[in-house]
Amino acid sequence: MTSSAAGRLSLWLLLTPFVLWILLLVLVPHLQMLRVSFQVRESWDSLSWGLDQYQNFFSEAYYWRTFVRTGVMSLFTTFLTLLIAFPIAWYIAKMARGRAKGILFLACLIPFWASELVRTYGWMILLRESGLFSAWLQALGWVDGPVEMLYNDVAVIVGLVYNGLLFMVVPLVTTLDGMDENLVEAGYDLGGGHATVLREIVVPWAMPGVVSGCIVVFMLTLGSYLTPVLMGGKDSAWFTEQIFTQFITRFNWEQGAALGVLLLFLSSLMVWLGLKLSGQSLRKVMG
């Protein structure tokens, strides 16, 4: 703007906080976590390098089964969230008008003014044995005794989808809003049916929103802790739970770090795959 010396000074002034933040809070801690995951504790104060933690992971079926289960359930949840959210986003972006549009959009946001814990708690009150659904079913005479609907995989998925909806609806509404309705009209005008128009026009247009929503929902689901722990049953363990156990209960940081690295690897891989398959870039999807 003025002289180049002043320009360089302001660049350094602005760059420094950014670099400190990204180095001290993101890069260095993660590298350290990676390092620790390759350390083997021989006694309380001596360490050596090794792959023991990773061997543990692959040799103990409990670990990798949970790992695979978490990944698959997260994918399924993401897909389900997309299916549920798309018609809603479509309605808000393309069918609702004026005030209704704004109100519906806000209504989608309202549940997320409560924290994940509160939302999960709400579902617990509804689904558990002494919960509302059970009571209502009994009152209707459809069942004889109390029914337990909590503590199983379906309950977990219901809760996870609920948590992810906002992050799916918002990007979808934003991209669909930007779509010119003439495109759809032209699609029908040129002889397309519902399915063709959806496949050839709407979905390609909405792709950035779909990818962005899916990435965020997948990340959130994969990394969620409260919902699976509070709503899941004995054998619906979530991978984050195991990380938590290693760190907080067993104080086995090396094993915990290795599990953390694996989870990070899985999530990065899925994000990368999602971007590659849909031909989007992280910058376009997130920024």
Partner: protein, 284 residues
């Protein structure tokens, strides 16, 4: 499918039914949680025993302790407020600086740094917490073992929680403020210079007022995000537990309507904060 394309009656009514079902699904858990905050029964479940404010006001004399007399929860609330305050301050300040850096300056490697900036969004919250715990707490352990120095700030506790939350909330603040700055016409700054302002004065009188709505928005978002965060926080918290962690611990012991009372209280506060920022940004 759009308004101008004809649809069948059946399709329309099915669509409507779906919409209604969706919003019921959204609202039900929260409505139920809110309602049981006023049920005059020691358990948050049916049957309805009548209306009471005990779960807010009871002082423990009748076997019930309401939220406003529950020192544990109030203490945790205060811890959460402090954490959220520092997180908001740090991440909004960093967000402003980053936004200017990425929207207004040109330098080599900018694309790459921008991707780094987005990184915290694609790292699960638990991992953010774990990595910071491993690095800083591990460092404190090593320092203590080798030199006998106690770096207590880096032990699990409020400082680490703030650091962990700042990690990803900064990215969000950067995106919010950056989006607004992108719409700023840099010629306005030149116009200010032309009218006799120094670059610094031009920044404070022209650019900053333009950014103000987004800064408020980012601050409100940062506060809420921090307040509600669990995944990162739980890994880093020490003896002074913030509210979400305290609630979680209570919930594991068993649920009481006090939890409903806290939940409703939080919802109301969040809603007020959100409304306030919306009013603010609409007013401009």
């Amino acid at each position: 499918m759009i308004r101008s394309v004809p649809r069948s009656r059946l399709f329309d009514s099915l669509y409507l039914a779906y919409l209604v079902a969706f919003f019921v699904y959204l609202a039900l858990p929260l409505l139920v949680t809110a309602a049981f905050a006023f049920n005059d029964s020691p358990f948050p479940s049916l049957p309805w025993q009548g209306f009471t404010l005990d779960w807010y006001l009871a002082d423990g004399s009748a076997g019930r302790t309401g939220l406003f007399h529950d020192d544990g929860l109030l203490g945790a609330l205060w811890v959460s407020v402090q954490i959220a305050f520092w997180v908001t301050l740090a991440s909004v300040a960093l967000g402003c600086v980053n936004a200017v850096l990425f929207e207004r300056l040109q330098f080599r490697g900018k694309e790459f740094l921008y991707l780094l900036m987005l990184l915290p969004l694609v790292i699960p919250g638990v991992i953010l917490g774990v990595s910071i715990l491993v690095f800083y707490s591990g460092m404190a352990n090593d320092v203590s073992r080798l030199w006998g120095l106690e770096l207590d700030v880096f032990r699990p506790g409020m400082t680490l929680v703030v650091m962990g939350q700042v990690t990803f909330i900064t990215t969000l603040a950067t995106l919010v403020i950056g989006a607004r700055l992108r719409k700023f016409d840099p010629q306005l700054e030149e116009a200010a210079l032309n009218l006799g302002a120094t670059p610094l004065v031009a920044w404070f009188t022209v650019t900053l007022p333009w950014l103000m709505p987004s800064i408020f928005g980012a601050a409100a978002m940062a506060f809420l995000m921090s307040f509600e965060n669990f995944n990162t926080t739980v890994m880093l918290t020490g003896s002074d537990t913030p509210l979400t962690v305290a609630l979680f611990n209570r919930l594991r012991e068993g649920s009481t309507p006090v939890l409903n009372a806290v939940a409703l209280f939080l919802m109301v506060v969040s809603a007020l904060l959100a409304l306030l920022t919306m009013r603010q940004s609409q007013g401009r």
